[in-house]
Symmetry: C2
């Protein structure tokens, strides 16, 4: 059986998972895939990360990525350090050295698609990235291969486990955002600096990748409209629940015929929707295609083992090609763009909204709010003001009918400048 040699760069959480998987499930993988995986080298800048590496399993242990990239005996470089640099440099050098690449790096891919895949195409090497979206969920391969014949209407889902954990805890236990974040940090679900997750940026990077595969548009993650969950309070989750909704941070790509809308934001979705049942760190991706109809892929969206599962799937696929054909020309090396696909301006989005105003309870407040909404062509579906404390700060909740986002923003800006408004109005979009 041909042996395929792997160089693993980055021995953090996921890197360790991949190391363990190669060593523990290696025999089974060989039997299933007809190819034997051999770990030629591991690299990490931090000597502590290299502790416990068994040289019988892995002859090269180094703090220099170059040592692995330049090793002529290595077939596949697995980049698991994340972030833009030096990951970008490592991947491009590996490609130009003729090595195949497996990565989980959504930030890098979503920022530098074209450069990386054009380089890979020129050199005829694979760049595989199943682990970049949805952890262990096979979403990339499903979109690129199984569902390739579909014209998609929508691809959307819960793509960030940290924020889903926080929102689930706020919904189920009534915790504040701050307390739920603290718990997530204590459990190792949120990082010490949670910005990338709670801001929605991580989900936007992943949506960028799904949008390229599903819709042929190359929109960097950082250019996608993104709203995080920091302004959501437990009262919003309670209010939503009362009206039959749950609140999820959704990443949404929707092609409505008049343009493709890409966005990441907290969203009210009906409680009966399957995504409402996705709790804690789980992720789920819904796709709607003209052939497949609606399909859902659900599973662990992060973590050492699930992410390693996807990295291993990519490694085995490349290894299988190498073992069978020697030097394959990779399938789908190019990511083909759809030149006709237009992006929809966020201002032109037309959906219903949940609005939580913080007002001083005095006569005329509701009239003031509703006249500004009406001036801006926003019609009210329902209003709720449960607490009444004359002269005190109380919430007023309004659900609107479908309205133009641009109009709504104008209205909220005007309302938020009125004297009876005591805090920035919380706006959450609704998807039915």
């Amino acid at each position: 059986m041909r042996s395929v040699n792997i160089g693993l760069i980055g021995l953090g959480t996921i890197g360790r998972g991949v190391y363990d998987a190669i060593i523990q499930n290696g025999n089974m993988i060989s039997r299933r895939a007809g190819v034997s995986l051999s770990l030629k080298g591991v690299c990490d800048r931090d000597p502590r990360a290299l502790k416990g590496i068994d040289k019988r399993h892995c002859p090269v242990v180094t703090d220099s990525a170059d040592e692995l990239i330049k090793d002529p005996g290595i077939d596949i470089i697995v980049e698991l350090i994340g972030g833009l640099e030096p990951a970008g440099d490592i991947i491009l050098k590996s490609i130009s050295g003729g090595k195949h690449v497996v990565t989980a790096n959504k930030a890098l891919l979503s920022a530098r698609w074209k450069e990386i895949f054009e380089a890979a195409s020129r050199k005829g090497v694979f760049v595989k990235f199943e682990a970049s979206v949805g952890g262990g969920i096979p979403v990339i391969r499903s979109l690129r291969e199984s569902l390739v014949a579909n014209r998609f209407d929508k691809i959307y889902g819960i793509l960030n486990g940290t924020t889903n954990f926080i929102l689930s805890m706020m919904a189920d236990k009534g915790s504040s955002f701050k307390d739920a974040l603290k718990t997530a940090q204590e459990k190792g679900i949120a990082e010490a600096d949670p910005e990338l997750d709670v801001s929605g940026k991580d989900a936007a990077h992943k949506l960028s990748i799904l949008s390229l595969l599903g819709f042929g548009v190359d929109v960097p993650g950082d250019s996608i409209f993104t709203e995080g969950i920091t302004s959501i309070g437990p009262q919003d989750l309670r209010n939503a629940s009362r009206w039959g909704y749950s609140v999820k941070l959704l990443a949404i790509a929707r092609d409505s015929g008049d343009g493709l809308s890409l966005r990441v934001h907290p969203t009210l979705i009906p409680s009966r929707h399957l995504l409402s049942g996705v709790k804690g760190e789980d992720n789920a991706v819904f796709v709607k295609g003209d052939l497949v109809g609606e399909a859902l892929l659900f599973g662990k969206g992060a973590g050492r083992k699930p992410t390693a599962s996807s990295v291993m799937g990519d490694i085995v696929e490349i290894a299988g090609h190498l073992a069978n054909t020697g030097r394959p020309s990779p399938v789908f090396p190019k990511l083909n763009y759809d030149p006709d696909k237009k992006l929809k301006d966020m201002e032109d989005l037309n959906i219903p909204f949940y609005l939580r105003f913080t007002v001083i309870d005095k006569p005329g407040v509701l009239a003031g709010i509703s006249s500004v909404l009406s001036e801006n062509k926003i019609s009210i579906a329902s209003v709720s003001q449960e607490e009444r404390k004359s002269g005190k700060q109380v919430p007023v909740i309004i659900l609107t009918h479908s309205s133009r986002e641009g109009d709504l923003r104008k209205a909220i800006q005007k309302i938020d400048s009125m004297d009876f408004i005591k805090a920035r109005t919380v706006v959450i979009r609704i998807e039915e």
Copy 2:
């Protein structure tokens, strides 16, 4: 762009879906996959099926499969006639002629795995079968590729849309099996002869395929323990619901360490389980692997377009290889068996049971039943006998604790011979 030529055999429901997809989504597929698909020929024995085929799209229209199999210009034969013969003959002839094969034929694959894949391996051609399990759900590719590094504990799910439609209708509307079947037939969801579906055999064929991929065992579908849904009554769905369960026809492969249990039968599952929410014709597959944890794949399990979606994914994958490498040696041509995997005897299954006895309501009946259960080491978790009509036929429902299947069968056989039992006892297994 290289063009890859397809010969389509069988223009029934799915065949038409594939024909439409190639014609309608062809340009988009070319852009995504970097290869152009060309329909060289279609074949059906029934001239009516060939009506409306546009020769500009498809030059060869024939009732002879051989004409396509022997056409040197055809790269891929798509077999969509189903059943054992002549499908088996068509596939083997295509392989021996050096053609790649795409099929949705679970009955054939589950019966003749070894022969077909050994032939394909010798000739170096692909045999792809994503559409054979779960319609549009990308379960085959996920198991073979994305999740290939996982050691699986369980693969189970709802693999037959017809029976799920019937059970959903019985649960939601209180219909009898007969009425629900009739509705399914009127809607085109069940065939005129529904035997293959309602007996569980269709699900067993699919389970056979999943078991080979996930556990490396080659057990023909017809050798798998299979129980259909014909003895289930609407009262069983009501009773189950009262105890917090729903009833689904599950196909289950579970490796419990002491052996692999393969079985298809109606099953009580907790109402909160995600599979309980899978209604109508939808299918869903749960996998539990040592790396990925629990993952769920959900979608349309049958039908023209969803099944065509999977067939097209396979066609495009092979076409991509052909376009890139000319004559590829297929990846994973062998399906590697696990020689150490032992099958568990159904009699040794140890799970809880739902039992519905039909008894004459008279003193001593419950004592009679429970003493036989007790003699056979079956302990009762709960009993319900709501209707009391002395001297009349009434149901007695018992839920047991985990019991050995062999013991339970012995007990039921004895009980069913007792004079107060008026109908065959309904036994439904429970999965917690």
